[in-house]
Symmetry: C2
Subunit: 499 residues, 2 copies
Amino acid sequence: MAIPAETFFLPPGRELSLQQQIQQMVAEAIVGGRCLPGEKMPSSRRLAEHLGVARITVTSAYNELVANEYLVARSRSGFFVAETAPAAHSYPAPPVPSAAQADWSRLIGHRFSDADPPILRPGNWRDYRYPFIYGQSDGRLFDHRNWRACALRAVGRRDFDTLASDHYERDDPMLVEFILRHILPRRGIVARPSEILVTMGGQHALWMTAQILLTQRRKAVMENPCYPGLRQILAQNRCKTHMVDVDRLGLSPEAIPGDADVVFVTPSHHAPTNATMPLHRRQALLERAARDGFVVVEDDYEFEMALFTAPSPSLKSLDRSGSVIYLGSFSKSIFPGLRLGYMVAPEPMIREARALRTLVVRHPPSHVQRTTAYFLSLGHFDAQIARMIRVYRKRRRIMEQALAAHGLIAADQQNAGGSSFWLRAPEGVDSTDLAVRLRRDSVLIEPGGAFFAAGADPARYYRLAYSSIEADRIGEGIALLARGIRTMQQEQGGGPGAG
Amino acid sequence: MAIPAETFFLPPGRELSLQQQIQQMVAEAIVGGRCLPGEKMPSSRRLAEHLGVARITVTSAYNELVANEYLVARSRSGFFVAETAPAAHSYPAPPVPSAAQADWSRLIGHRFSDADPPILRPGNWRDYRYPFIYGQSDGRLFDHRNWRACALRAVGRRDFDTLASDHYERDDPMLVEFILRHILPRRGIVARPSEILVTMGGQHALWMTAQILLTQRRKAVMENPCYPGLRQILAQNRCKTHMVDVDRLGLSPEAIPGDADVVFVTPSHHAPTNATMPLHRRQALLERAARDGFVVVEDDYEFEMALFTAPSPSLKSLDRSGSVIYLGSFSKSIFPGLRLGYMVAPEPMIREARALRTLVVRHPPSHVQRTTAYFLSLGHFDAQIARMIRVYRKRRRIMEQALAAHGLIAADQQNAGGSSFWLRAPEGVDSTDLAVRLRRDSVLIEPGGAFFAAGADPARYYRLAYSSIEADRIGEGIALLARGIRTMQQEQGGGPGAG
C-alpha cells in the first residue's frame, strides 16, 4: 500500500525546476517524518497526474532521490523510502516563555545599531525605471558567461579539496600573485606577498585599519563630505576625529592638523564629489605625512574608472617614507555582492591585519577568491574594465548634455571620471525630500545628507550615478528630475528656474 | 609584419588548460604594453609550432581573445591587437625609500598578532599518510557533484543579478528560510527571521557575541580546556574571564561564579573532550542563567555528528527565560573553507549583531549563501550528513578497537559522538614532542596544549580525529602512534607500557 499521492503538494516556487521541487518535497516529507523508512512511494504515473507534471519529471526526481539515498528502487515494485534515509527526529514542543524574561537592554554591553544611517537606497532598485543609483553592478555590462566559467572551474575537482580546507590566516596564492603582478603595477605599486592581505571588500579593510591604528587618544582625519561607512567605523572606534572640508581638488594637505595620527583620503575620485587630487597636493600630503609622522590611508575604491585619462599615480607609488596604506576593491569593477578587496601596507601592518582578520572571520571564502583569480588571470577582468569604461564614457556624455539642457550644474567638474555626478539643488530644495518625491516617477537619486557630518549637512547635495542606468533612459530620467525640482520650487513659491 | 612568435613564452602552469595559458599569455602581453593596438599577431600555425601545441589550441585561444575584445580577426589576413584592447599604462619606477622611514611599532595602536597560537597543523596535511586531523572536510565523503550543480545554479542568469548586488545588512532569504524551517526544528528551536543572522562561520559568531555582550567590567566564563579561537577572542576583548574545569559530563553549572555575565558552552560535544552534557545539567544551567541573569552562548558547532543516538535537546530549545544565544556552523557538515554559520538569539541581540556585521564585513558573499541554500533545500545536505554519520561510526569503531589493542585509553568516553577522541599520554610523555616525532612516520595528531589556559596545560593530552583519515589506514596509524609513545618512554628510561 503506497503513500497516497494526495499527501504531496509542491512547495512554493523558490526558483527551482519542477524536478527539483519534487525532489525537495519528497526529501522534506522523509526528513520531517511524514514518510517512514520502508514505505512505498506513489507510482510516478500517479504522482505525476496528481501534481499535473510529466511522468518523466517525477521519474527523474525519484532517480535523483535514489542516488542521494532517500529512496531505493525495487525492480517491478517501484520506489520505497530507504532504510538509510536521513532520520526524522521527534522534536520537543516549543518552550513556553517563563514570566521572568532576560533583560537584553541590560545584557547588551556595546551598541552598534545606533550607528545605522537611514537606508535611502531601496533594495528593489532594479524595479525603478531610472535608477541613478551608485555602487551596484550593471548586469548588462558584466561578463557573466566568463564569470560562470571561472566559478565552475573553481568548484571543479582539481581545486576543490584544497579550497574546501580551513585556510586559517592564509589567502589564495593565485589571487595574491595576480594582484601583485598585474593590478598593483598599474598603480605604480611594487609589493611583496608579505605586504598584501585579501579583505572582504573595502569596508572590511577600512574597519581593520581603524581597529589597528586608532585608540581613544589618537586622532583620525577624514574628508567632509565622506563615505558614510568610514564615518560609522570611526564613530564606533571612539577615537578623536577631525573633519576637513574638501574643495574642487579634494583634500587640502594644509588643512590637516599637526597632531593627526591617521588621514583617510580618496584621491583618485573623492567620495562622493569625484574630485581628483592633483599631483602637487599628493606630494604635499606625503611630505606632511613623513614630517608629522601620520599614516595615510589611500582608499582607491574606483581607480579603474578613469574615463578620459590614465589614472593619476597612486599615493602609495609616490610614498618614500612607508607611510601609506593602500586599499583596493573589486566591488565596483566586478560586483559588490562578491565582498572582495585587498590592503597593501608595510609588513608590520599586514601582520596585525592578518591576525585581526583571522580572529574575526578567518578568511574570505576560498572559492570566491579562486573564482576571482581565474577571472583576473584569464584576461576577463581587463576586458570587463575596458568595456565598462567605454559604456560609462558614453553615458557620462549623455548625462552632461541632459543636465546642461535642463540647467542642472554639477557641483564639481574637476575630475578624471568615476561613475557619478555630485550635484547641488537650488536654494530651498531639500535633496532628501526631492529623492522621496522622485520615487513616484520611478526615478532614484541619492540624497547627500549621509555623506556629511551631523549638523554639517547642507541638505541640498545629491549624487547621480550612471553605473546602473541604461543610456537611452538617461534623458527621460533627467527631465523628470528637473521637473521634480521645478515643482518643489513652485510649491515653496520660489522662482521656476531649476539652476 | 607580424609580432614574432618567438617573443611568446607560456607562463608557468597554474592549473590552466593549454588554451587558457595561451589566452593569458597574449592578454598579459597586450595589457603589459608589449603588443600594441593594430599590431598583427603571429599566425596560429607559427605560434603553435613555436609553443609545441596543436594549431586548434592557438586558434581557439585567439577566438576567445576576439570575444573578449583583445584581438580582432580580419578575414584572410589574420588576427590583430584590437584598438579597444585594455590599454597599457606607463608605470612610474618603484620609489626609492627615503632615509626617514615611518616607525610602525609606534604607529600601531592595537596589536592582534600576539594572540596567535603556534599552528601545529601543517597546511599540507593531505600529504600525510595518517592524518588524525580535526575539522577539515573529507573530499571522499563530500557530495562534490551536487555541490557543483548548486554552485552553477547560483551563478546562473536567473539568480545572478540579484546576488551580485550589495545587500548591505540583509541575508539571503532562501538560506534563512531553510535554516528556520528545517535545521532549527531538529534542535527543537522555533525562531522568526528577525531572530537569526547568517555569519562567516562559528568563529565570526563567537567574536560578535563577545563584542556585543562583554566590556572590561563584565565577566566571561569559559570551559577549560576550551576551543582556542574563543580564548583568543576573550583575550583581545579585555573582559574579565573565569575558567571552569570540565569533567566527564562537560561543564558543571555549580562551578559557575555568581557574578558571571556570559557563559560559553559546547554542550553537544564539548570541545575538545567530546563530553556530552546530560539533561539534568542543562536544566540546572538554564535555571542558574534565569536566576543570576547571565547569557548562555551555546556553541553547537557539530551537533550533526551524533553518531549513536539522536542529538540531545539543545539548551536553546529548553530555555524559557530567553537567555540563550545559539550558534550553528556549516564548517564541519559542509566544509570549513565555505565560512558560513548562523546565530539564533532574541531580537535585540540579532539587531546589534547585524549592525556589527554590516560595519565590519557587510555580509557573507551572496553566491556562497545561495549555493548553500540550494544544497540544503534540494536534500543534498541531509543525505551528506547521513553518509558522514555512517562512515564516522565505522571509523570510530575501528579506532576504538585499535586503541584498545594497543592499550591506549580515551580520556573521556562519556559522549554521544563527535569526530574525534581525546586521549592522555602516559606519565612523562609530552604530547607536543610526541606530535613532532610522529610526523616522521607520516602520522598527524593534535597536541592538547592549545586548548588549555596558559600555565594550566597538563602537556599530556592530545586529540585524535577520524574525520579525515580513511578507515583502512587507522590500524597502521594507531600502531605507529603506540610505537612512538613506547619509544619516548624508553628514551626517558620509563617502562615499556603505553597505557
